[in-house]
Amino acid sequence: MHADTVNRKAEALAALASVPSEPGAPKPDPILVVDNVVRRFGGLTAVEVEHVEIQRGSITALIGPNGAGKTTFFNQLTGFDTADSGAWTFNGKPMNGVSAHQVARRGMVRTFQLTKALSKLTVMENMRLGAQKQRGENFFRALFSGLWQPQEDEITVRAEELLERFKLGAKRDDFAGSLSGGQRKLLEMARALMVGPELVMLDEPMAGVNPALTQSLLGHVKDLREQGMTVLFVEHDMDMVRDISDWVIVMAQGTVIAEGPPDTIMADARVIDAYLGAHHDAPLTTAEAEEQLHQAEAELEAEIEEKA
């Protein structure tokens, strides 16, 4: 198992070794290729991505300051919002205009920044819901439990395995609404796996999770790669990104400004500028410093309010 772990990571890193650290760099085996995706809200261009490829079997992080358009970009790709223009392919098949549920069926499954546990369903029911091609989801077949019960039993076994893996086994009959924030994140990830995805898209999987659980969540994300899935995730926490990702894509003001291996990216001047402002190392007058301080505080407060 351990040797295998090293292999998958090594494989991903080896495949990405020869890729230049430039925005829009072509990858040897892309699972997702995005071209010229644009989304405007009135006068504001929220997303304008020229070209991005996601390497199959890797963990790719999508980072960027608040309002960079990461989540909007996610929404375009997964059919939760309609792009104004652009095209993208998943496994070589065009995906624009495909509705959200079709995207999921084709193997591209997402989670949400604000966790969407189905509170009044039990943890087990949440899990079962993720399974695809259920015979009992047809109204007329639903009337005859003999037609779907055997499949339901198989689904339950699979769900139990996943719940054990995510340490939620003891919670299987609790309402999802009674779980803690971190457990809901785990449940959402486990539920997404019930779909049997090829590409897992996690929107801020670590947001609002206590540090103790963060490590376990990180382990689960790495685990996805070991099982042959591709992971694309949005994150704020740089340390986390450095720890688990094979490749990092940086967005700012709707566009991809840089991409590359985590260590290269952390040192990239464009990235530091995007996060800290272009003149963060230039000498300041006292007045300017004061003003920037106020601005930063205001932004922080806005962020806190947004989260609350």
Partner: protein, 328 residues
């Protein structure tokens, strides 16, 4: 005061035609609102479509009774599709607005002067229920236990009605414990999450709307047949609101919630009404007249509903745990 009269009237109402009709209407609403979270405020429209489907086919067009039933059911399905196609992609509150308007449109169309020849205007239609009563298995007379008694026509309506209620409950029970029902309940919680798991949310909401609407149209059939006549103003919005009261009283998202709610609602309504009438007639209550009893009765219904929502929002059969989670 005649206590026997008061209690026998109350029991008769609790198992009588109104209770059956409201039970069926609320079972339909339970599928919409209780399980799927669709805020349908136009259930009266589904009843009207069912009632006028059968009445128009038989009384106006002179076609057979059973064809009328089929047309009534088909009309309910069509009504659900018409409502759902433009609104189910929108937020839940839009559905509430559109359904309340659509139900009113149905009522105004069937009472319009221009279509009086077809739907009978404000007088409505009659003479379409002979075939139904022709199938009556009871011979003419009064049937009952002690002071509680129904004539053979009412008893026939009640027999058919309670069989329909039982059948509807059985179907709801079966589908709601299946994966199909699980998808509906999940949609009620968060439809984006359900989309992200590869389910066609629009299709499921439409199926729920049709299913609940068809059960509503069964209530419409019984409404028309029990009176052997149908008038447009029977299907005003207050019918929908009473059905919601029944549903919330019994407990939403529970198979027997609407049935229990309907029985208790009508039992209490008539108990209080007859009780007040008797009290006024026997000078126990002197400050109101018999004519005012009806209005006061409905005020008490409103008060009761308010108290219910404050102290027992989950209804009689509901699960407190499920409600508490909303107060996160």
């Amino acid at each position: 005061m005649d206590w026997t009269l008061i209690f026998s009237r109350a029991v008769e109402a609790g198992i009588g035609t109104e209770a059956v009709i409201y039970a069926l209407a609320a079972i339909g609403l339970n599928i919409h609102f209780g399980y799927t979270g669709l805020l349908n405020f136009g259930q009266a429209g589904f009843l009207a479509v069912g009632a006028y489907g059968v009445a128009t086919t038989v009384a106006t067009l002179g076609l057979p009774f059973w064809l009328g039933i089929v047309i009534g059911l088909a009309a309910a399905v069509l009504f659900a599709l018409l409502l759902g196609i433009p609104t189910l992609r929108l937020r839940a509150d839009y559905l509430a607005i559109v359904t309340i308007a659509a139900a009113e449109i149905v009522r105004l169309v069937v009472r319009s002067v221009a279509l009086q020849g077809t739907f009978g205007g404000t007088d409505g239609l009659e003479a379409f229920s002979d075939d139904f009563y022709g199938m009556n298995i009871y011979s003419p007379g009064q049937y009952g236990i002690g002071p509680i008694a129904f004539d053979h026509r009412t008893l026939w309506v009640l027999t058919v009605g309670w069989i329909l209620v039982a059948a509807a409950c059985a179907v709801v029970y079966l589908v709601m414990k299946s994966p199909w029902g699980r998808v509906l309940k999940a949609i009620r919680e968060d439809e984006d999450a359900v989309r992200s798991l590869g389910k066609n949310v629009f299709s499921y909401k439409m199926q729920a709307l049709v299913f609940g609407g068809v059960i509503g149209s069964l209530a419409g059939f019984l409404f028309a047949l029990s009176r052997a006549a149908t008038q447009p103003d029977l299907f005003s919005t207050e019918l929908t609101f009473f059905a919601y009261t029944v549903l919330i009283l019994g407990g939403a998202a529970r198979v027997f919630g609407p049935v229990l709610g309907a029985v208790i609602f009508w039992c209490l309504l008539i108990l209080v009404k007859t009780g007040m009438e008797e009290a006024v007639n026997h000078q126990v209550i002197t400050f109101i007249t018999v004519n005012q009893v009806g209005s006061i009765n409905y005020m008490l219904v409103g008060l009761g509903l308010v108290l219910l929502l404050i102290y027992r929002p989950q209804g009689i059969l509901g699960d407190k745990r499920e409600i508490a989670l909303d107060a996160r």
